[in-house]
């Protein structure tokens, strides 16, 4: 485990700013505790300093994960954000994301199929937890 270098921090912040814009400083500088980013086996983990201090007791090969994994650095040093970071990004998100098939695909589809465009927010899954199977 080690802290991130300047280039790695920059790459990660660039990626995060695409999703949460300027609110990264709220992740860096938190009122409720000192949290930090650490790199372990090419993966970036976000954890409080307490957890970090506990994690120092493990050897590198025995340590699997610390805190929450935000993402990893690929072989060519590009930062790939993971879904496990969602909990931390969601409160500061810049906008809703929508995934849909392209209009061309919708046109090309057979006449009996139904095209649905559904926009949801973060809480929909929780709100509809009972009705979803």
């Amino acid at each position: 485990m080690r802290p991130l270098t300047d280039e790695e921090t920059k790459a990660m912040f660039e990626k995060l700013s695409k999703y949460i814009g300027e609110n990264i400083k709220l992740l860096v500088d938190r009122p409720d505790g000192t949290y930090c980013f650490r790199l372990h086996h090419d993966r970036v983990y976000y954890m409080s300093e307490k957890i970090l201090k506990l994690a120092t007791n493990f050897s590198r090969d025995k340590l699997i994960s610390v805190g929450t994994c935000f993402g990893k650095f690929t072989k060519t040093q590009k930062f790939r954000l993971h879904i496990t970071a969602l909990d931390f990004l969601a409160p500061y998100a810049k906008g809703f994301g929508v995934a849909a098939k392209t209009t061309q695909e919708c046109r090309r589809v057979d006449p009996l199929s139904i095209v649905v465009f559904h926009q949801a927010d973060v809480g929909e899954f929780i709100r509809n937890e009972d009705t979803l199977t």
């Binding site: 912040f13 700013s17 695409k18 949460i20 300027e22 000192t34 906008g95 994301g97 929508v98 926009q119």
Partner: protein, 348 residues
């Protein structure tokens, strides 16, 4: 009267036809003092007849040459017609004989190759090449197998049972050992073959290691430069640098990182400063967003002006459609939160 007239004209026609025939034959046959030398295999005809300079100067030169060429070509084609013919897909093809004239070499003859190490040694010792049979009897498989190559006879790497010799380590993998030895022999053979080639073509080879490849990447070149720089008596400390060359930042073998539990506040400060720098560098105006917004405005204006024009004509439908469309779009915009109607995830 008519009959006699017709007969006269028929006679004339016949006479004319005969004359034409004779002319044609005349043109086919060409008279020459000396016969031409033909090499029909190469479609070659050599004309040894003397050219009278008087003839050449009298007529127009072009015509004379053309006539000469036509005559000679006619003779050559006469020769071709003499050959046996066959039909190939509705065309008559003549079978050409073997070419008689020997053509000169296109490229220079190959230079003799210098003898390989083995050839030198064999010559020195007087060892003759013994002709070996292609197939060898394989006792275990009870069949004839090739001496070397795929499925060869007596292949010791393919043994399923190997006795561990007394002298060797009991934990050693004998099968792997044989495979490894085979690989070593193959590699050694290849290496010697390449050395022979290098010696033959007088290519310089380094004593140890591989030759550099022709196309080297930026990393490889920079590494080579740094290695060369450092290989001085004082480990490159007093080497001059090129005018725009930057000093090497991490020339040492190990990268140095911040300590794992350093000063948290200073770490925080550094990250916040980095964020500030990133913010200042980023353009405040998103070009795509601005352009899209502009386009939307223009579309809206156009639609509004169109609707006003059509107000006199077809009444409710287009207006209703336009209104619904507008309302739907506005509603979608509100739900999108932050005007992300194009459906892109938060992009700055």
């Amino acid at each position: 009267m008519l009959g006699i007239m017709a007969a006269c004209s028929v006679e004339e026609l016949l006479a004319k036809a005969e004359q034409e025939e004779a002319e044609k034959l005349k043109t086919i046959s060409v008279q020459k003092e000396l016969d031409l030398d033909f090499d029909v295999g190469n479609l070659l005809a050599c004309d040894k007849n003397r050219i009278e300079s008087r003839d050449f100067k009298e007529q127009k030169k072009e015509d004379f040459l053309r006539a000469l060429a036509r005559d000679n070509t006619q003779l050559l084609i006469n020769e071709i017609w003499k050959l046996p013919t066959e039909r190939v897909e509705e065309a008559i093809v003549a079978k050409l004989p073997e070419p008689a004239t020997r053509l000169p070499r296109e490229k220079p003859p190959p230079k003799p190759k210098p003898p390989t190490k083995w050839e030198q040694f064999a010559k020195l010792k007087g060892i003759q090449k013994k002709k070996k049979t292609n197939m060898v009897w394989d006792e275990t498989a009870k069949e004839w197998r090739r001496r070397w190559g795929y499925k060869r006879a007596n292949d010791d790497t393919k043994d399923w049972l190997i006795e561990v010799p007394q002298t060797s380590d009991p934990n050693e993998d004998q099968f792997a050992k044989r495979v490894h030895a085979k690989k070593e022999r193959v590699a050694k053979n290849e290496f010697n073959r390449l050395k022979n080639i290098a010696r033959a073509q007088k290519i310089k080879t380094p004593g140890v290691g591989l030759l550099p490849r022709t196309k080297q990447s930026k990393d490889e070149l920079s590494r080579a430069v740094s290695v060369a720089k450092t290989s001085t008596a004082s480990a490159g400390r007093f080497q001059d640098r090129l005018p725009k060359e930057k000093p090497p930042k991490n020339a040492g073998k190990r990268r140095k990182f911040e300590p794992l539990i350093g000063d948290f506040s200073s770490e925080k400060q550094k990250q916040l400063e980095l964020l500030k720098v990133m913010d200042s560098k980023r353009p405040k105006l998103d070009i795509t967003k601005a352009v899209n917004k502009q386009m939307r405005e223009e579309d809206r204006e156009e639609a509004a002006s169109k609707r006003k024009g059509r107000k006199g004509g077809a009444a409710g439908r287009p207006k209703g459609k336009g209104g619904k469309g507008k309302g739907g779009r506005a509603g979608g915009g509100k739900a999108g939160g932050g005007g992300k109607r194009r459906g892109k995830p938060g992009k700055r």
